[in-house]
Amino acid sequence: MSAGTGALRERLRSAWVEMRENPGRSSLQALGVMLGVASVLGGFSIADSQRRQADKLFVRIGGLDKLNVQPAAAVRDGTTPSAMETANLGLRGADAESGQSLDRPGIDGVSQQKTARVRVRSPYADQERQITGIAGDYLAINGYSVEEGRIFSAHDLDVAAPVAVLGKEAASVFFPTGEAVGRTMRVADTPVTVIGVLQEKVFRFREGQGNQFAWRNRVIALPASLVSRRMQGDSYQRLDRVTFRLPEVNALAGFAKQLDVLLTANHRLQRDFRLDDVAARMKKMRSQGDIYNMIFMLSGVLALLGGGMVNVNIQMATLKERVREVGVKMAIGAGGREIFKEFMTEALLLTAAGGGVGLAIGIGFSKIITASIGIPLHMEATSFAWAYALAAVFGFFFALYPAIKASRLSPMEALRYE
């Protein structure tokens, strides 16, 4: 007799032969595991796909990689502002510049934003619209790209040139006949020349759903300096928002801390600005989809549990048929331990095979579901590992009882079993 590996191979081969000799009960036994694995893998993958799509939305709408600074009311209602508070200048371009001067190796861009709601007129339309005075890398940070014409030059921003860049929707509303570039429109009674039209931005959470970015196509962008001086503003050229974009989401927290210190100093220790709560945002991002994972994990475990019960049931039912068989094997020299190992080997082989088929079914299942709700499929290697590991554990434990039961049969009784 050869060593342990030979015996194991012999046992596996023998179990394989037995499985083939009994296709009915074998496939029933594997079925439970198969469905369990499929549902764990499918659940995880659907949750992952959904979360990935949500993450994409989150990043693209401008959440994850950006840090916003906005003005805040430092003076509480019903109190008289102190001299210091009155003397404060609010959020300005200087804040953006000093933030940039922190000179972290990875500031991707800084944008300044000044919004106003004004009357906008063209030969074709006359509407009250929100306009956005921009400076810095606003368009790039927000993922706009030019379809026609050009965007603002540094000179435009410096001299508050009367020029505008329109989003796709704005262009089609104010110049429905096309050819917006080069035309003139009146924004808060200031004539401005359209120098560019932006590409349409589209993001659908699922195919067939509405465009989540429709509002972005409504943008009417002007130099921030122009908006402050001519349309709505003050001599200090206060801003509504300064945004920093970092390439590394993980660097955001550290940067926020430094920026907070710097701006507090700049603002003479007055808290008249507000930074995004980075910690809360990270937490939200991380927790997104956790609940789905839990639910799907749970349903997968329940499916496996159900499958396991089915498995035990089938094994117990076939045990009756197998008692004679066990008796014969015992008569010709199989000990209880041998019988136990045979049962376990067979069960584990079936678990492995059923698990493999289950993975395939799970892939198909995920594909169908994600296709039907219209999101791209995303599967993680860890989901496969989880699904298979769970199946292995369940396969093992649910195989134990019938195997122990069979191994404890007395050969005489088993042989006489009718």
């Binding site: 007799m1 050869s2 030979g6 015996a7 012999e10 081969r13 023998s14 032969v17 037995e18 000799e21 009994n22 004679r324 068989e325 008796g327 014969v328 094997k329 015992m330 008569a331 010709i332 020299g333 199989a334 000990g335 209880g336 331990r337 041998e338 007395s410 050969p411 005489m412 042989l415």
Partner: protein, 231 residues
């Protein structure tokens, strides 16, 4: 009759089923010795205890009291797995209802005892084919038992019993399920095996079958009746 060292040495063997008030004394003090190369028939009516005795001789069951040495080794009181090993190495069973694994091929049925003995695949296969040829059904190796006639099934059972070159063949009513012609063929096979030096113990209730054996041991009410047929 060769009377070398005894294969079976049984002394004062009793077997009691149940306990206290409902105890059934199946064997009440059996003394029996079977020598190597003997052909012995255990005969007795149903309820005589011969099946119980066969089970104990075959190490399928343990006695309540008394001693049993098989091939010079005490086996009474051994654990289940030790008995399994002895059954595997020293005893070949042939049952009335064949007890073949119905879904395994004829070849695999014959290989199985060697599998439990740890015989390697190729050797196992060769020996199984050899044995099937010996009992005259090598051409049925790949078939399932269900495709075989009763006589052929019993030949498979005999081949399987011989797989590990046992010290003793133990046949329990081996012709009980066969018509008389095939029954005689199977019995002839046992006689041939006996002539070739195998120890054969045949359990039967039929005196005409028992008459073929070299020695008759009659069991009655859990005891050996001291009436022995001429050798």
């Amino acid at each position: 009759m060769k009377t070398t060292e005894p294969i079976v040495a049984i002394d004062g063997l009793t077997k009691v089923y149940g306990g206290n008030g409902t105890a059934v004394h199946a064997l009440r003090g059996i003394d029996l010795s079977i020598s190597a190369g003997e052909f012995v028939a255990l005969i007795g009516p149903s309820g005589s205890g011969k099946s119980t005795l066969m089970a104990i001789i075959g190490c399928l069951d343990s006695p309540t009291a008394g001693t049993y040495a098989l091939d010079g080794q005490r086996v009474d009181g051994l654990s289940g797995s030790a008995l399994a090993k002895i059954r595997n190495e020293k005893i070949g069973f042939v049952f009335q209802n064949y007890n073949l694994l119905p879904k395994a091929s004829v070849l695999r049925n014959v290989e199985l005892p060697m599998l439990y003995a740890g015989v390697g695949g190729r050797e196992r296969r060769e020996r199984a084919m050899e044995l099937l040829a010996k009992v005259g059904i090598a051409d049925k190796a790949r078939q399932l038992p269900a495709a075989l006639s009763g006589g052929q099934k019993q030949r498979v059972a005999v081949a399987r019993a011989l797989a590990n070159r046992p010290k003793m063949l133990l046949a329990d009513e081996p012709t009980g399920a066969l018509d008389s012609k095939t029954g005689h063929e199977v019995l002839a096979l046992f006689q041939e095996l006996h002539r070739n030096g195998n120890t054969v113990v045949l359990v039967t209730h039929d005196p005409s079958i028992a008459a073929l054996a070299g020695r008759r041991v009659e069991i009655h009410d859990g005891l050996v009746r001291p009436a022995e047929a001429a050798a």
